[in-house]
């Protein structure tokens, strides 16, 4: 019965342990030696993964802050200052990405892609938001990747990884944002643009909403063109994108309809109540 079973376990346990101890005294078996090397290999891999996750988090946080900063752009009178400040912030983010690139020297990027993907997406969002504010157009993947080519010269290198790669691949390495990361980042950008639209109406800016709805429509058309060619996440974002577009289009509609009848100084009130409503619906983007 179960009593006998339990007793056996008690009897056998120290016995099994003793045998293990004996094995430790003897030269370790081939199996144990190889498992020791597996332990090393797995630990190295997990450590690298953790370091990358941490970097990715930092990149996400800094990028988010940049986006918040850029949202102040429309309301503030000193727009240039905010833009240059955002540039400084993005440079800091890029330094983090450089560290990521260093971690990935000689590795298969896709092996660790899951660790860094969220950070990269957020970076794409921040950088494309800034680019839009500056140029009113969409930044391309190529342009983003151009900024992610790093050279060893601009900072003294202390990492030992670079020293052995110096001979083969001197001084430059890069990180490439994948098309999918780019697409997901751009999809998030549209959410920011929607917020920008609503808040600019709140500030009495009548032109920006129309410009934005035009731009968002172009992006939406682009996404529908891709459709389900892309991975599942992309098609999932398409739904939110549609909602953002609808909000912006509705804002433009209201502007057109009400704009003709409400005096300009009162428009701000109409939209500031609307903004609150939308923010509540949205939750945290």
């Amino acid at each position: 019965g179960s009593g006998g079973f339990r007793k056996r376990k008690h009897d056998n346990f120290p016995h099994g342990q003793r045998r293990e101890e004996k094995e430790n005294l003897n030269p370790p078996s081939a199996l144990m030696t190889s498992f020791k090397s597996f332990q090393l290999e797995l630990d190295t891999r997990h450590d690298k993964y953790e370091r990358l996750v941490k970097l990715s988090r930092d990149i996400t946080i800094e990028s988010k802050r940049t986006i918040f900063l850029l949202h102040r752009f429309t309301s503030a009178p000193n727009g240039e200052e905010i833009l240059s400040e955002s540039e400084v912030k993005l440079d800091a983010v890029r330094r983090k990405i450089k560290q990521v690139a260093q971690e990935l020297i000689g590795e298969d990027m896709y092996q660790f892609h899951r660790a860094i993907s969220p950070g990269l997406q957020e970076y794409v969002e921040a950088v494309s938001f800034q680019y839009f504010i500056k140029t009113r157009s969409l930044i391309s993947v190529e342009e983003i990747n151009k900024q992610l080519i790093f050279t060893a010269e601009d900072r003294e290198e202390t990492t030992n990884m670079t020293s052995n790669s110096h001979d083969k691949q001197p001084h430059t390495w890069s990180l490439k944002v994948t098309p999918v990361d780019y697409l997901l980042g751009v999809a998030d950008l549209t959410g920011e643009l929607m917020r920008l639209c609503i808040s600019s109406v709140g500030n009495g800016d009548i032109d920006t909403p129309f410009e934005l709805s035009q731009f968002l429509r172009q992006i939406y058309d682009g996404f529908t063109f891709i459709g389900n060619t892309g991975p599942y996440e992309v098609s999932k974002k398409l739904y939110t994108l549609k909602q953002s577009l609808a909000k912006v289009e509705n804002a433009c509609y209201t502007l057109k309809v009400r704009g003709s009848e409400i005096p300009k100084h009162m428009l701000a009130d109409v939209f500031s109540t609307k903004t609150e409503l939308i923010d509540q619906e949205e939750g945290l983007p």
Binding site: M32, F35, D43, R45, S137, V180, G222
Partner: protein
Amino acid sequence: MSVSEMFAALQGALGQDQDIREEIRKVVQALEQTAREILTLLQGVHQGPGFQHIPKKCQKAREHFGTVRTQMESLKTKFPADQYYRFHEHWRFVLQRLVFLAAFVVYLESETLVTREAVAEILGIEADRERGFHLDIEDYLSGILTLASELARLAVNSVTAGDYSRPLRISAFINELDSGFRLLNLKNDSLRKRYDGLKYDVKKIEEVVYDLSIRGLNKEATVGAGGEK
């Protein structure tokens, strides 16, 4: 570049990606078919008469691994060599299964644990990432864990078939495997989940050994097998 041009370019890239995946899927299907055939062949050892034919079955299985090697060769040509992990998910499952099958064959032949290098060689791939299409360490370990549960089953069936010495040897083997796995610091992922099942295999085999011991059947076995305990 206009927005629509950009998206057209991206769509092109994604479309190409999809074509590659389609190609990979085809080869993986063929690999799965071969793996099933090998498995069916090796399942024969669990039946009574199968125990006498183990060497013959192993030899046949090894012939099938020739097919696996040619299929692996074709898989390698389907995608750029430096993007292994981009498409890893597609062949992960079948590769683990093939590792198990190779490990099972090697165990039946020599009662040893196949090394990572040896599996790679049987499958016609590399053990190191640097040299091309390789065997990921987690896939190797997963395959080995499948072997453990198969051996637990084999221990039961070999008793039924009247072979009382095999469970003792399997027990020693699994115990060593267990202490090997205990060296690893596993993350909370699929490998860890499968490792958690190993203790049940260990327990199962211990029970079989216990049943043999209290009936004195293991002594009978050691006469033939030459002293295990």
